[in-house]
Assembly symmetry: C2
Homo-oligomer: 372 residues x 2
């Protein structure tokens, strides 16, 4: 387990959690990012995205990442006041340089640029280079859906963890892909997935709970399946979606490579395994696409058929009546409704780390402000 | 097992196969399609695509489908001389109506239109409605890569076979997705996958060989895993990529839904489970995207980094030195080299069916032409 792994403890289920109101999570994010020297506009956008991620229940990608970001910052791998620039642009494409900072602000700007171009042209794609972690890909795809467009967002990751079918070396990060589309009556469809079978966070959770891993999540140094959670966490060798040859893991491996091509080769970011570990910048890349259904058919017809699909999926017969069939995006919507009222769960371990993060940069620690 | 299943027997490994030279496969395809009344240009393009599919080793999607197409034709579900029309068009998008015919010709035309628009604009997307089976998605994605562009091709399928996570009813077809990108020294990267764990053809093969299925390919009517190949073939209930909840089958299910949105909701084709079984037209939909790397960065740099990725993947350490790590597209390239010389394997069972197909429409049966 790397130091950064030890510090991201939001997902432990130790039963000892704070329930932090959204506005305190927001204030804490703003205070820390600002104290790190992030300019005001970038701070606001990064705060908004990280808070939305926590509210949607994606604990592995929200405030729980501040300790990791702090570590990168201290190691000189994160520019806190980056220049985000448009390097190339046409009516339907653009390339952005993120200036070596966190990926949330350039990601947001890139997808909004794609949306703006899509409003004029019906279709647009924007790539980003020289970036860093951008949180949950679904947030960006949803921006497009909220504008009435289909949205696609992908990112590569600086550390390789996914082992190709037949292989024993990690060649790709967990390379996420998100796809969102607007509906009529229903909230947008939103698929937001890593292209590995599971993300690192699930190994950590099993380890914290003293459970063996299900076979098929991780492999050992020989490339053979391992169920030892501690060993798997130390090695960080994940299977691609599909998990093994017989269950078509070559498909998950291929999807991870597809995300790498769109995010890194297209933008000029670093291919995970070729990144110079001593370089100042991690040079992560992202890719965003926006597509207007109204360029193809009547918007209302498209949205009505999205509703029809969503309704049919929800109404389709489940194996266990207590566990209905879900539509991609449903779990996050349920979580968000609950957390807007109940607050964001933060483990004691993470709270301690966040207090340290705040103290280190001279920001106030706000999560346990009484009667805030 | 449906009648169409029984008739697609190219993939049986009964050891009793003809090796048919490519030019005879080509002549047979042309003779049958033409006898069915397909216009000359459409016949040439459909023949070329189906032959290329057979040469690439995708036996389930080449000449082995003629019996199924014949069945659809006889059932009045396939227009043999369709009007393929552009219904809507902008500089970067288009919608085509395929006129109720086979999908190969409109698929080819749609991707070529996307490529043409991409030449001017750097990016283009074309959707197709009112189509039918288009063979292997990879063929269309490769058209873009051969033009120097990134290509994406998807299709929905008229019969639902993929059961969502938690569910017990099939809600999507095997909804294929192909993604291709050009390299420099290397042939293009080409991922061509169904979003189910395996395609129906793999169940049939296990059944023919008297093997049980690996657990995780198919489910029974209660939604529980089944290893009985005969029962699974009869039921046609496939798992999404990932195969079960614990191994993240919700990701494969979500990808199948993504393909449905792009192929059916966007174009106005029929959502698999809502298709009227008595309708004259199956109204299958496709989606094609072309993206020019040179809109984002220097083309040579992009291609050099594609080469670097491909080379690194091939050189990465395998579990078994006799089974090196492959790059998506490699197996098809190897197969094509071999089949150009050795011919296309056609089982005796399929040969008999193809002879019947030819006789039924008055075309010559050519596969066993001596010393042709």
């Amino acid at each position: 387990m790397t130091p950064q792994e030890q510090r991201i403890e939001t997902s432990d289920r130790d039963g000892d959690k704070l329930m932090v109101p959204a506005r305190l999570v927001e204030a804490q994010l703003r205070a820390v990012l600002s104290a790190w020297g992030m300019p005001a506009e970038q701070t606001e956008i990064t705060t908004r995205i990280m808070l939305a991620t926590d509210l949607r229940g994606v604990d592995s990608h929200g405030i729980g990442l501040l300790p990791l970001y702090d570590e990168l910052r201290q190691a000189g791998k994160l520019t806190m006041a980056p220049q985000v620039e448009v390097l190339r642009e046409t009516p339907v494409t653009a390339l952005l340089d993120a200036g070596g900072g966190l990926g949330h602000y350039p990601g947001d700007r890139a997808m909004r640029l794609a949306i703006e171009k899509c409003r004029s042209s019906g279709l647009a794609a924007v790539a980003v280079r020289n970036s860093n972690h951008f949180g949950a890909a679904g947030i960006y795809a949803l921006l497009a859906a909220e504008a009435g467009f289909i949205g696609l967002a992908t990112s590569n990751v600086w550390n390789a963890a996914v082992v190709p079918t037949r292989g024993r070396e990690p060649m790709f990060g967990t390379n996420p892909l998100a796809f969102a589309a607007p509906a009529g009556r229903n909230p947008p469809f939103c698929l937001d997935i890593a292209t590995s079978t599971v993300a690192i966070g699930k190994l950590r959770l099993a380890w914290l709970e003293g459970r063996d891993l299900p076979e098929g999540w991780a492999v050992d140094e020989q490339g053979h399946p391992t169920r030892d959670a501690a060993a798997a966490l130390a090695l960080r060798l994940l299977t691609p979606l599909g998990s093994r040859s017989e269950l078509s893991s070559h498909k998950g491996y291929g999807l991870a490579a597809m995300v790498e091509v769109l995010s890194a080769m297209l933008s000029g970011a670093s291919f995970a395994v070729l990144r110079d570990p001593d370089a100042d910048r991690l040079n992560v890349g992202h890719f965003f696409l926006a597509l207007d259904p109204a360029a193809f058919r009547d918007r209302a017809e498209f949205e009505a058929e999205m509703d029809e699909m969503i309704d049919r999926l929800r109404a389709s017969r489940p194996v266990d009546p207590a566990l209905p069939v879900l539509v991609p995006g449903d779990p996050e919507i349920t979580e968000e409704r609950e957390r807007q009222v109940m607050g964001v769960p933060v483990s004691r371990k993470l709270a301690v780390m966040l207090r340290d993060v705040a103290q280190r940069c001279g920001a106030r620690y706000l999560l346990e402000t009484p009667a805030g």
